[in-house]
């Protein structure tokens, strides 16, 4: 024991950053606890990044390993760009939560456990033979175990709730303790509880009592034991007004902004799918901004209705995740053919097929860039972080209306759900791109619906406009009139025109996110890998390595200077959460000898994984660069089961089912 304790890192009273993970049963309210802790952290002026990680099941059986829901937050006084590799503090609300999250915990880290849940029955469900809180197996960590359940029941006693209802306030008790630990103001949470339970003041009061009790417990328990108050200084950020924002919120607000900058009403067609539904949920509450939302009968109808609305003169938007995007594919082809503006948001998740509905991945890049019948180019943009999604959504709207084309915006499950502080932008700083509809014939006495402007775009003609009646459709059209024309020369000309239009889209030059414009190694990322790449490159640069971080927003078409930029580096490494899709695009488009660093475990890259990959370029061992990051069981909860087919199967498959699957 003594040796292990000696191996612990020296305690620091004011760390730069702290990683806390709340883990409990799906029904324990861990996402809510995490969300409110995030808010208080933001209000305290820390930079932060979060990672909500929850099972696909809505209410998995209580106490089971696959029913564990976790929320990780990394916050600090420096720039925070990932949710953190290893937690410093693990709050485990039951044995299953402890078991599935323990491996990730930093040696010397703190475990806070609710002994009230460590019953024989729950230990069995978590497959613990002995109670880990008592058998010494947790010696390399600090353990603070006490009966949160009983303390919560005690705290809410005055409100006359039954035990079952009283225990629902456990998460607020825990939050109270966490707020004490990091010296946070309780008032915003109190206000939030009052607002949330407006109609049920007794529930609000009970939760507030639990919150206060948890806080008070911290104050008293500090006298002895491992529980200490940790103070994390505020980050030095740019002056301005801030709020927290998730990717789904940022996409929604960015779309609203885009529609406003285009001076158009917006039509949003959606169909429920994880993790994209949040965008529909946000937009449906913004009707006063000229937004009509439509929950269609399926993914296909959602995009078709959006195209119909674009045809009628609104900004059509649709959103989904991989499997839903697959269904929309044919309709995208029609939007390409009829050259109508449309924004398609893909909140990527693990695939193929149903895949990993609640886990993140970047494996729909091929689908976005190449996945349609015919020569069917579509511009593709990607968001690097929750906050970045706002600007990217505006960019998608701009391209769609200026070039009369569908645009795909790639985000992912991680960005959609994760929150970060966001400096609220001034809407006036964005350049408007108001749309002009064709009002009269554009070729003397003749209307030419496919006559192109300098950008290669055809005019947008709203039905209802007198004198401009015309017909469009998915059949190949004549280069000017848009009438059906199957002739060989015409199809060649139209294929060329559609390609040229997309190729010539004005894409800002690629910048370097961190480091010099030349060097030994460029780490080229896209999407939500921004955080781990940035931090890893920063650390490598501090260690003196000539490495730079380049993060590409415009996947298609690529920035015109990207080839020249990458040519300034000896080596190019492309980390991505797929099997190397962007790497292939770069190789194809730029003839660059890019290596791949891939990870497809449904979890984001850890900074350490990225650092190790970078180090390979500087270790003098030939040809060992790139590669695959294996799933790290320590990184995040490893569940032994979990299904998204709506059924809750037994934890162990029967022999028959193993044979049949």
């Amino acid at each position: 024991m003594a040796t292990e304790a000696a191996e612990r890192p020296a305690e620091t009273q004011a760390p730069e950053a702290v990683v806390v993970r709340f883990a409990g049963d799906s029904g324990d309210g861990m996402q809510l606890t995490g969300g409110q802790f995030t808010l208080s952290t933001a209000l305290a002026g820390n930079d932060l990044a979060t990672f909500p990680d929850f099972p696909a099941e809505i209410r998995a059986p209580q106490g089971t390993l696959f029913g564990v829901s976790a929320f990780q937050i990394n916050f600090g006084s420096t720039e925070i760009e990932t949710a953190g590799d290893q937690p410093d503090v693990l709050v485990a609300m039951n044995p299953a939560a402890l078991k599935t999250n323990l491996e990730a915990l930093k040696p010397g880290g703190l475990i806070i456990a609710d002994t009230g849940e460590f019953t024989r029955r729950n230990l069995d469900k978590a497959k613990y033979e002995n109670n880990p809180l008592e058998d010494g197996s947790l010696a390399k960590w600090d353990v603070l175990a006490f009966d949160i359940s009983a303390l919560t029941i005690e705290a809410v006693k005055p409100f006359g709730l039954g035990n079952k209802d009283a225990l629902r306030s456990k998460n607020m008790w825990t939050l109270g303790l966490a707020l004490w630990m990091f010296d946070r103001d309780r008032q915003p949470i109190v206000d939030w509880l009052k607002a949330k339970f407006k109609g049920k003041p007794e529930i609000a009061d009970a939760n507030i009592a639990a919150l206060n009790a948890g806080h008070a417990y911290g104050e008293t328990a500090e006298l002895s034991g491992p529980l200490k108050q940790i103070s994390v200084a505020a980050v030095k950020s740019e002056p301005g007004l801030y709020r927290t924002i998730t990717g789904a919120e940022a996409v929604s607000l960015g779309l609203v902004a885009g529609a406003q900058l285009a001076n158009l009403p917006m039509f949003f067609g959606g169909y429920p799918i994880t993790p994209a539904s949040a965008i529909l949920h946000h937009l449906v509450r913004l009707k006063e901004f000229g937004i009509t939302t439509f929950q269609a009968e399926d993914e296909i109808a959602a995009i078709c209705a959006a195209i119909g609305a674009s045809y009628a003169g609104q900004l059509g938007v649709t959103s989904s995740s991989g499997p839903g995007i697959a269904l929309k594919t044919e309709a995208m082809g029609l939007a390409i053919m009829t050259e109508l503006p449309l924004v398609i948001v893909n909140s990527q998740r693990g695939g193929p097929s149903t895949g990993l509905p609640t886990k993140t991945e970047q494996s729909d890049l091929y689908q976005a860039v190449y996945g349609r019948n015919g020569d069917a180019p579509i511009p593709v943009v990607s968001a690097r972080s929750p906050a970045d999604a706002f600007e990217v959504a505006i960019e998608a709207c701009r391209i769609a209306v200026q070039y009369m084309t569908p645009v795909i915006l790639l985000t992912d499950g991680y960005i959609a759900n994760a929150a970060e502080p966001w400096k609220v932008p001034d809407p006036n700083t964005f350049e408007p791109f108001p749309v002009t509809f064709l009002e009269e014939k554009n070729a003397g006495e003749t209307l030419l619906p496919y006559k192109r402007d300098g950008k290669g775009a055809r005019p947008w003609i709203k039905p209802g406009t007198p004198g401009l009646m015309h017909r469009i459709g998915g059949i190949e059209k004549h280069v000017d009139t848009g009438n059906i024309d199957y002739s060989p020369a015409n199809h060649q000309a139209m294929t060329d025109a559609r390609k040229a239009k997309i190729d010539q889209i004005a894409v800002p030059d690629q910048d370097v996110a961190l480091g010099e414009a030349t060097g030994r190694l460029a780490v080229v990322g896209w999407g939500s890998t921004f955080g781990p790449i940035h931090q890893a490159v920063r650390r490598a640069r501090k260690a003196g390595l000539a490495v730079s971080h380049i993060h590409v927003r415009h996947i298609w078409p690529l920035p015109k200077n990207l080839g020249a930029l990458l040519a300034g580096f000896d080596k190019v490494l492309v980390p991505e959460m797929n099997s190397g899709q962007f790497k292939t695009v770069l190789r194809d488009q730029l003839l660059v000898d890019a290596d791949s660093l891939t990870k497809t475990s449904g979890q984001p890259f850890a900074i350490a994984e990225m650092e190790a990959a970078i180090a390979k370029y500087f270790d003098g061992i030939p040809d060992n660069e790139g590669g695959e990051v294996p799933a790290d069981p320590a990184q995040l909860p490893s569940r032994d089961a979990g299904h998204d087919d709506g059924s809750l199967r037994p934890e162990h498959g029967s022999p028959q089912s193993e044979v049949s699957s």
């Binding site: 209000l43 007004l241 709020r243 109808a301 078709c304 932008p425 015309h470 459709g473």
Partner: protein
């Protein structure tokens, strides 16, 4: 289309400059003419009229009408039409589909556009065959239909378009056929109906399914084989010598003889277009023992989908601050001044 001011047009005004590409003798020509003849009668404005279609022979229809036209993808016309109506409810939208487009690949969308009650006219050309793909059997082909994909005859039971429409919650269901002189009348009734108006139009595919409707869709014997329904009028046919009665024991329709035109004495029922139960019986009435029920079988309007959406959008927006800057700064915020963060 509520605020559409009637304008004066002629049949010629509704002919586009596009060469019609249907097979010579196709029933689609007759339907096209009927529609082009009807539109002036409606006072329709070509600039405010949109024809939306899916894929198939029938779906080429929009190219030939001098209005706005959108030839979309297979089966999805209802979804496009819904988006168009929600974006601009003032447009007068006609949807053209077929038995394959509307009931096979697009069955789901057809169901939902009907139950939502989007205000548009849906013309389903039923020729009981896939024509454009060279003659495979369709979801409305009769049992035993021999085609390239069913050389031994089809074995699956056909769908009944009008029964499907009623089952989906349609508030207007009508039937006609390509060469019928009554078709414009049915189109006018459909146009008048506020909501999704579904019309099944039997259409003769001269190449792949020739004359399959000749049992009732030819002038010879039409009196005996066609039951044209008019709201408030008795259900009589065969020049008034036969009528339809309701057998209360079996809750079914029966054919009865009418003597000396005294349909009342014969117990013939009067068509009430708002009677949904009778409408269900009429659409299911088997041809052969019964005449083919034609005309407006059911017409009982309900508020439209787009009017409900618009009203909800309006109510939800009322009194709301539309400052985008305020929206961005919604929720709990904090201000960073200098280099330190101050919670607010």
């Amino acid at each position: 289309m509520n605020d559409m001011t009637p304008i004066t047009t002629t049949l010629k005004d509704w002919e586009s400059d596009q060469e019609v590409r249907w097979c010579p003798g196709c029933g689609d020509y007759a339907i096209l003419k009927a529609v082009q003849r009807t539109l002036p009668q409606l006072g329709a404005n070509p600039a405010k009229t949109v024809f939306v279609s899916g894929i198939g022979c029938s779906s080429r229809f929009p190219y030939y009408i001098e209005s706005y036209g959108f030839h979309t993808i297979h089966g999805r016309a209802p979804a496009f039409a819904t988006g168009i109506k929600l974006a601009n409810p003032d447009l007068d939208v006609w949807m053209v589909t077929g038995d394959g487009d509307g009931l096979s690949i697009g069955g789901n969308h057809l169901m939902h556009v009907l139950r939502r009650n989007v205000n548009l006219q849906i013309l389903l050309f039923n020729n009981e065959i896939y024509g454009l793909t060279k003659g495979q059997y369709s979801p409305t082909s009769r049992l035993g239909t021999t085609t390239p994909s069913t050389p031994q005859g089809s074995v699956d039971r056909p769908a009944n378009p009008c029964a499907f429409a009623l089952g989906s919650g349609a508030r207007f269901v009508a039937r006609g056929f390509d060469v019928s002189k009554n078709l414009p009348e049915v189109l006018i009734a459909a146009h008048k109906h506020q909501g999704a108006a579904f019309i099944e139009i039997f259409q003769n595919c001269i190449v792949y399914n020739k004359d399959v409707f000749n049992d009732f869709a030819v002038p010879k014997g039409a009196d005996d084989t066609q039951l044209w329904l008019t709201d408030g009028e008795p259900m009589v046919f065969a020049a008034g010598t036969k009528g339809i009665t309701l057998d209360l024991e079996t809750l079914s329709l029966q054919v009865t003889d009418v003597v000396d035109g005294d349909w009342q004495a014969a117990g013939v029922i009067v068509h009430n277009a708002r009677n949904r139960a009778i409408a269900h019986m009429l659409v299911e009435m088997p041809f052969g023992p019964f005449p083919m029920a034609l005309g407006v079988l059911y017409d009982d309007p309900r508020p439209t989908f787009e009017s409900a959406v618009i009203e909800q959008n309006r109510a939800a927006s009322e009194g709301k601050d539309t400052s985008f800057a305020k929206l961005l700064a919604k929720g709990q915020t904090w201000t960073v001044t200098g280099t330190a963060a101050d919670p607010v």
